[in-house]
């Protein structure tokens, strides 16, 4: 079956512009996670959705970041007024239920802010 997909695969944007990153989880997976991977750094957990609810948004780096999820499907991560430090690979993962259970990762969106 289809895995987690993310779009776009690459995005180059100018500083100050808004970007929207999309994640399509595996069908039936209720839990969805967003991570950020900066060059030379480990993956940084951003936010978790159980269904369309995100109980804790404190992992988002700043108030320029927001995330939504429609039901138990598509999620979007929006970054407003992008800054150069936002350049990173943004990874999405999904799992059947929340917890340490197997998280399946998408290929990521490589964001470059110029």
């Amino acid at each position: 079956g289809a895995g987690v997909s993310q779009s776009p695969s690459n995005k180059v944007t100018e500083k100050g512009k808004d970007v929207e990153l999309r994640c399509d989880p595996i069908s039936g997976h209720t839990a969805l996670y967003w991570y950020r991977q900066r060059l030379g750094q480990g993956l940084e957990f951003l936010i978790y959705f159980q269904g369309n609810s995100a109980p804790d948004k404190s992992g988002l780096p700043s108030d320029r970041f927001s995330a939504e999820r429609t039901g138990e499907s598509v999620s979007t991560l929006t970054i407003q007024r992008t800054q150069q430090e936002d350049s990173a690979v943004y990874l999405c993962a999904s799992s059947l239920i929340g917890g340490p259970y197997e998280q399946y990762f998408g290929p990521g969106t490589r964001l470059t802010v110029t």
Binding site: Y33, Y35, G40, G42, L43, F45, L46, G98, P100
Partner: protein
């Protein structure tokens, strides 16, 4: 001290060697210990995970956790060139809302 420490490498070994990859962590609340493999420009894929202290074997891979010393290991036997990748340890408390706390990863190179 970072929550999860991992030597970034690169670690280069000849094909067929036994590889030892290690992490240390500081949060005593971690209960599950995941190992992910990440090929260049790909998302991480879960290799295996263990719960609490002890060993777990899966084919050529063995994961080992010592909670008393907060030390995590992954051993790869009969290493193959296809094992060349970055290996990420990711301990977690077990609550989905906590996400995973990843180490920086160790870049492993298996020389044919």
């Amino acid at each position: 001290q970072k929550e999860v420490e991992q030597d970034p490498g690169p670690l280069s070994v000849p094909e067929g060697a036994i590889v030892s990859l290690n992490c240390t962590y500081s949060n005593s609340a971690f209960q599950y210990f995941m190992w992910y493999r990440q090929y260049s420009r790909k998302g991480p894929e879960l290799l295996m995970y263990t719960y609490s202290s002890g060993n777990k074997e899966d084919g050529r891979f063995t994961a080992q956790v010592d909670k008393s010393s907060k030390y995590i290991s992954l051993f790869i036997r009969d290493s193959q060139p296809s094992d060349s990748a970055t290996y990420l340890c990711a301990p977690t408390t077990g609550g989905g809302a906590d996400g995973l706390t990843f180490g920086k990863g160790t870049h492993l190179i298996i020389q044919p």
